[in-house]
Subunit: 309 residues, 4 copies
């Protein structure tokens, strides 16, 4: 079993797709091949059942089955973080307990839609964190583009000071570079305990985020191998080289970031890279049409040419 | 088993609360007493597992257990409509099939959050209605205050013309009196087949809605007996008497309509009326404080005085 | 000239309509008759160029012309508060200065759309309040249903502690009864300086708000005479009588509260009460159709019968 | 005077900044230098007083003064489109008439916030277009990220079929590539009259948009010279070269796209390129801090290195 998620976590925690068969059933064999793919890419961790993992379209039983299959396939080689956000706190806690028993390294949760102020966010997250208890390491996800819930850096710091189980912050408010800087400065290991900051939002500002003190990436870009190499370069102090590499992929990364259709594009690339067998997303979900495919073909061809140059 | 929901449905389809024990577990015995209470109130139908039924906080298993208990307790005396809205279409259809097998009269579904145009709404609802098939009668819920999804009367009519399984429209856009008039005029049984229109949104404009052609109410106001009596008066052509009765309850009805806290107020009144044992809502959910209770006490005392006068 | 707005303000600060001619031009003569009407109703203050005053549809010149006409007509008999919210701070301050010179008692401003956290709200309001300076009394409007901006009670208290020019809080978040209680308790004249709290949101919870410590109403309900009488009764400790009176108007008050069409309904009632000559709202604005008029006729007839009883 | 805006318009219609002095006053001299800069960049048109032009922070007088100064400086060399969106239709039409008299080629307008359905959008836009009349060419802006108003391609086509004064569509819904394809296919000059489609949203998908049939760009990216060169390459059938050029600027373009701070970044680059004297935005507006400046310095240095390579 992998060690628990800790606040010194660094690197690429790839957001894993959930593979489906064309008929919508879960493709468990593709979970195995996808894990192999991610591990070959060198990822430092894996986050499953996030938004890109279509967690909302799975029943409770399916959620646990998928989580267990991922964890078994990973065999403790890297930490597996499991998204457990849920409209009901009871369900959230039950899922969290079961995946931790199954070998997860930690869980990820975000404030529920409808919270309007920092006060409401700390109220909600406080009750969730209390219910989860101190033994389950938590990554707090900040994804207002999806939830409509915005909270300030000060609000997050208040949570950090109250709940030791918070070890990681998934930063993806946009624009949010200053918020990242503020949290990094406040959680620097001296003024306050260190918190791992990993960046989502498709990685669209990832080099800038590294330079502002991020510890890594937590996103589903279909080339995690690039992100791993980029992380190594940043870690070695080679920021310009890191960003040169990143810039080659930026046109595709930007293309994948489109809400909705982006999921279909990512799954199609993962399929082409032989990581999964079908690009199917569960309904309601996006499907690529001929123009979308031609556009993707062209962008992939351009990437190959750049990499070859 | 009750007959299936049909487009000539009329009357009060009360939105049922889901009773919980103080510790958050489902209170199945209170389902039985709640059903008794509603039937004694004279309701013409029951809608379970709607928003007020906290459907989002139940697991799939719990959803089915609750639905079956309600249906068993009702024993076919009135139609039971089951809310099946779900982020995943597969789950939605699975729940719908199982509750229909268990004896439900029909299901209720609403467009999923994130749909931006009429085109997107008909696309989504079309795929859901196709997946449900022609044999499951459907009530389409229009609740943009919750979902953020707005659609026009024309959009609904297009669905009606394509999907014969739509038999009922749950109207609760606010403001929405003109939309009700437009749909009533279009679905009048001559220009187009008749569709039952029932009104939600706490009943805050219910007399006006009856006068514009609504067929009934579908809301969770804790005095369904008043709504039943009001329906009888409207049906007998006694609109002024009907509204006189309604107006006595309006201060409380308006008070209950408050989002969030309204659920706690309703459950507290149901508890005082001996319909359920606990006013508990599942987390995250509202709780009444001392000021809330005193306020409610006073409003209830005022209601009693008015009724006694 | 009327005294400046102060934190001990109490009573009904009616939100004034801006009268237009049928062709959309400002109807200055109706400003005079409207002022007469409001003063005869006994209002304790007047708030002009608020949302109901269609402030966004006036040019800067028109804004000043309308403000001056109202102030001249009032002749210092009651304080006139002028809404000055504006996307540009320069324009906001310029308008505020000019209306204060013209004899306004104070100004009303609200956080601009797009502010996401308490921190952002205090940042924006702080810069506006600093630019306005200490000599202009300010009523802070809290109307998230319109702006999408939510802030906590704690956020408002921070503003109160920093900016002495804040003397009044226009409460209209919904639901918001607990926020009112929190601000009342904190600004009680002992723990912190007293702030006048007046309630908007159409007055839909006005009796409850009085009982939780509100100082008055600031809304455009077309029967300010009722609100004045109700205020007197509450001030005399006759809460039940006050609410009995209110309850007679509640069906109409609730009907007027509908966003959009509500403005047209209010202007039509003001026209019928001979306060203004035309019910016209500037484009884009709502217009009543035949069904709307018939509905209003009936509700007004019901009100008359209740008052006669 | 420049010819009027026509539906065969092609190329780069740069969204012009409005230059301010550090104290917030309009910097008219910088309008002249900015026009020189844009014209030297080779732009095919200019769009002033758009969102990036901070139109909402100008009084009506300032709006006209700024528009006239731009138009005079341009001296008819390229068409000038003027943003006239306004909460009041009267003001909108008055501004439109005055800028057309002053020599504008056309106006740009968008649906007002609060419209919920296609029906509401066509209702609002229909009344605005009718009030503007047939003689003022109109560019319809589709910017839901700002307004919250979404409309379908079918809705736009209905407007095109009714109002001949619509000659241009400013596409910036995101994601929106399929909408662009749908409108292009429908307005192809055969099935329906041709409409010029220009793309905003910072240009983040500009090459893909060209390949889907866009006629040009309408965005404020601070390197319009790049966009002009790219347009020429696309027009010459050199799509790969065009996108190679674009890709060099993509890191900066993506950085500038950040809402809020993006305006400050653009104005700072324009200042560095000697197009304007101050990077000031009017309050409430973003300001760059030290970290923002260092980040920008680095990105600009990287761009220079790429261009030199």
């Amino acid at each position: 079993m992998a060690a628990k998620l800790a606040s010194d976590a660094k690197g690429v925690y790839v957001i894993a797709a959930t593979p489906f068969l064309d008929d919508g059933r879960i493709d468990f064999e593709s979970i195995d091949s996808l894990v192999d793919f991610y591990l070959k890419c060198g990822v430092h961790g894996m986050t499953i059942l996030g938004v890109m993992g279509e967690f909302q379209k799975l029943s409770e039983t399916e959620t646990l089955d998928v989580a267990r299959r991922f964890i078994q396939a990973v065999k403790g080689r890297v930490p597996v973080v499991v998204g457990v956000s849920n409209p009901g706190t009871t369900q959230l806690v039950r899922t969290a307990s079961k995946v931790m028993e199954a070998g997860a390294a930690g869980v990820m949760a975000m404030p529920i839609a409808g919270l309007r102020t920092d006060e409401a966010v700390t109220g909600y997250m406080g009750s969730v964190l209390t219910a989860l208890g101190r033994d389950i390491p938590v990554c707090v996800q900040d994804y207002p583009q999806l939830t409509g819930v915005y909270f300030s850096a000060a609000c997050f710091l208040q949570m950090v000071d109250t709940f030791e189980q918070i070890v990681m912050f998934k930063h993806e408010e946009a624009p949010g570079l200053r918020k990242l800087s503020a949290i990094r400065a406040a959680c620097d290991g001296r003024a306050r305990r260190y918190i791992s900051i990993v960046c989502g939002n498709g990685g669209i500002h990832l080099p800038q985020e590294y330079l502002r003190g991020a510890d890594g990436a937590m996103t589903g870009f279909a080339y995690p191998d690039m992100m791993v190499r980029m992380h190594e370069l940043f870690s070695a102090g080679k920021a310009e080289e890191a960003e040169d590499l990143y810039d080659k992929y930026l046109p595709l990364l930007r293309h994948e970031l489109q809400p909705g259709i982006g999921l279909a594009l990512r799954k199609e690339i993962l399929r082409r890279r032989a990581a999964i067998r079908s690009n199917a997303a569960r309904a309601p979900g996006p499907r690529l049409d001929k123009a979308d495919i031609a556009e993707l073909d062209r962008l992939l061809a351009r990437l190959e040419r750049k990499l070859a140059a």
